[in-house]
């Protein structure tokens, strides 16, 4: 019997800060930044929101769509680079809030921005092996950029949750990864903000891994770009996924539904999962989706999904991705600094 996504859900905080507003404070050229990054504004978490609260809301929406009893979930894996605790898994709090019960495997995942898709792979493997009936995989982040750093224009907050199991709304046809030791972006224990190798982040890192993983999975499945209705790539900004798509031979039309970055920024572990969530919001039965994430360090996970007719009965059981994208309140830089706690006492 087919295995894949039986329910999905997302959550994005309500606040937004525009590129213009950040550029105003740092006296930089907003238009050239907007054009360069292909970002208009980004989401900002409230003072009382973090990876755990985002995961709870996204997970609740996924459960609504799956329509299963919470205690049928046998595993919870949360991928993030902003777990609130250094030691104490986010999954323990989220599982209690969602009433998943105690007979549960749980672990937090870390692999920069691809920890959420790594969670999907593990849930898929556990379901396929018969060890669990359903697994909950979540990618969520409340990312930080150092004030004045290029990342400040893009680092955003949000997440998406996927329940893997049988009788799916999207069959997981195939998945593989591409991994290497590449230091393009890192954060040492105890540091508030990450460091990055500036120009080193592009070619040998993002493009090498995204393109290799995507080529490998298409080759393995004997599929070409034109065989897919949708393509979603990790969105650290708008430019990188657009360029990767072009190199691989995907069109703007295939990219558009999952291209959430211009209105909410880079949600790190939530980035490509939020793109997948928005694609599932409108996809039709029989359509094929290609998803490739990217995590610095570095690695990419690729997936091929085929949408089933179950999507039609489950889609409207929870708020759509666009509900969270358009439900917003713009804030100024002063409020942003207060919310993000950037001023040190």
């Amino acid at each position: 019997m087919d295995i894949g996504i039986v329910g999905y859900g997302c959550y994005i905080p309500v606040f937004r800060i525009s590129v213009e507003e950040i550029a105003r404070v740092w006296n930089t050229d907003a238009d050239s930044i907007k054009k360069g990054l292909m970002i208009e504004e980004k989401s900002v978490p409230d003072v009382d929101e973090d990876t755990i609260t985002i995961s709870v809301e996204a997970g609740r929406n996924a459960l609504l769509r799956a329509g299963i009893e919470p205690n049928k979930i046998g595993a919870i894996f949360i991928g993030s680079e902003s777990h609130p605790y250094a030691v104490k898994p986010s999954g323990t709090v989220v599982a209690e809030a969602l009433d998943l019960g105690r007979d549960l495997m749980a672990a937090d995942f870390e692999f920069a921005c691809k920890a959420g898709t790594a969670a999907i792979q593990c849930c898929y493997g556990l379901v396929k092996s018969g060890l669990i009936d359903y697994g909950l995989a979540i990618g969520a982040d409340t990312s930080q950029g150092r004030p004045g750093d290029a990342l400040e224009y893009t680092a955003a907050a949000g997440g998406a949750a996927f329940i893997l199991g049988r009788d799916p709304l999207a069959i997981l046809d195939s998945t593989l990864s591409y991994t290497s030791d590449t230091s393009d972006f890192w954060r040492r224990e105890g540091q508030d903000y990450p460091s990055h190798g500036a120009r080193f982040t592009g070619k040998p890192a993002y493009f090498k891994h995204v393109i290799s993983a995507t080529k490998n999975i298409m080759e393995k499945a004997s599929l070409k770009p034109r065989d897919f209705n949708y393509a979603v790539f990790h969105m650290p900004n708008g430019k990188f996924p657009s360029a990767a798509a072009k190199t691989l031979g995907f069109t703007k039309e295939q990219m558009a539904p999952g291209f959430v970055v211009s209105r909410i920024g880079n949600c790190y572990s939530g980035s490509s999962p939020l793109g997948l969530s928005r694609v599932l919001d409108t996809a039709k039965p029989g359509e094929k989706i290609l998803l490739t994430s990217y995590g610095s360090g570095a690695g990419s996970d690729s997936f091929i999904f085929t949408v089933t007719d179950k999507i039609l009965e489950r889609r409207d059981k929870a708020p759509l991705t666009d509900h969270y994208i358009s439900r917003k309140r713009n804030i100024d830089y002063g409020t942003y600094v207060r919310l993000k706690g950037k001023l040190k006492e």
Binding site: V14, D46, V47, D48, E49, D50, I52, T53, V56, E57, R60, P84, Y85, V93, E96, A97, D99, R329, R338, G341
Partner: protein, 133 residues
Amino acid sequence: MVHSSIPLFWRLRKAKYRLEGTKCRKCKSVFFPPRSFCSRCRRKGEIECFPFSGKGTIISYTIIRTPPEGFEKQSPYAVAIVKLDEGAQISGQVIGDLKEVETGKRVSAVFRKMYEDGPQGVINYGLKFALTG
């Protein structure tokens, strides 16, 4: 300052994370916080677990401008008494634009950070209310 002991919070987390109250099977009274004894049926009551939907209406509220320790970052904020659709009344923080908080407005429960016991302490999570109408 420590706001609640870890064992006490742990025992109450079903109520705090999921609005799990109780209901008397006999007279249908609902209780939140959960009670193990029906005040109406007394010894004849039959108490069972009852999850509230988290939807309700603001019946009264106040704005906190001088917050207790641990809540400074959130100040000013609204605290309301909410009548849940299933019957019980509870008090809780209302998030969102303070200007929009009014008696009679509809709310639903959302999962948020409540407070931190300092930078090294436990982070306490629970439910607040968001305006929905």
